[in-house]
Symmetry: C3
Subunit: 143 residues, 3 copies
């Protein structure tokens, strides 16, 4: 038994770099948590990502799932004020989805917060956010 | 020691949302398990995904690896009856690879089971399947 | 308590297929570890991948992060001698990033080690490397 616990120490702790408290709350609330990365400007892939969100809400049921979509790199433009994705972003936000823009990517493309769609969230680094979510036990999907 | 176990409770449980039994059997059988997501219609990326399957079978050896390829979104068409990927799908199925079509994506594109390649599997939701596999401890590869 | 440990056995062990020692050292060194897959020949996506590396080094700080970029499939050409990505590969190597070329992909494209950029690393199978990293507790990003 001791050996088993020692083994666990390695496996478990390697995944425990980030917030342990959040991981525990994931289990306590029983919610499925999924982070989706979108790093492309292609509209059809953005449409697909929003379909993914709709599918996941349907599959798990609102209230049983926590979703975050992180836009970064070449994908950051889709969250600009004039983006054709505006209505779907608004719909996602309305449904409680976290929509997060990478501020490093924004700086690279000279975008300010006021250039972006209203009510979205900002994260200092898109990849950092995705890595943090993985550490917290969220499933990861590349959009 | 108590504190260590408490830490483990957070890390371990956050990954334990899905089938615990399957995760245990993964360890018991000693097989590597890998799920590959394909959500593109691009033939060269489908060819690449089938190369991935061949590579993984070569690297681990048949019998030491369990593989699943999940087609969803824009990728669902590659599993249609008339798909040029038909021979490679047949070869993968023959080798014991799970080939799974997302039924949500099929409905979006008005595809019925009889419109699809023979002997493939169907999952209610492609993303749900990938998330389930991640929870069960499968490695995840975006194709 | 016994039941809690039993639960952990399933969750923890399912993620413990690979090197337990490395997973433990991840925790001991306190470094964030991230593996990035690049399987595309598109230059803009390679540029993006190198931006990712720069961002991660900035976010975590050199010395606090261990990074590996694995080129495979259609992405292998970007590590050829004459690649326009040469300077950024050299910069990444200089910064201590592991740059790994998949030898299966090289064989498929008749590339020898002497055809590739100097100082890069070689792995028998790119996917095998990525899967191994996931087992060791590295975060995974699809580039």
């Amino acid at each position: 038994m001791k050996r088993r616990i020692a083994l666990l120490a390695g496996a478990g702790l390697s995944l425990a770099t980030a917030s342990m408290a959040h991981a525990q709350s994931t289990v306590q609330t029983g919610k499925e948590r999924v982070v989706i990365q979108v790093s492309t400007p292609e509209q059809r892939l953005w449409n697909q990502a929003f379909n993914y969100l709709a599918n996941l809400r349907e599959v798990y049921g609102d209230g049983n799932v926590e979703l975050e979509i992180v836009a970064l790199g070449l994908g950051i433009g889709a969250l600009q004020l004039e983006s054709t994705q505006g209505p779907r972003v608004a719909e996602a936000l309305q449904a409680g989805v976290h929509v997060s823009a990478c501020e490093i990517s924004m700086r690279r493309q000279k975008l300010k917060r006021e250039d972006m769609l209203p009510s979205i969230g900002f994260v200092p680094a898109g990849l950092g956010q995705i890595i943090k979510r993985q550490r917290e036990g969220w499933a990861y999907i590349s959009g």
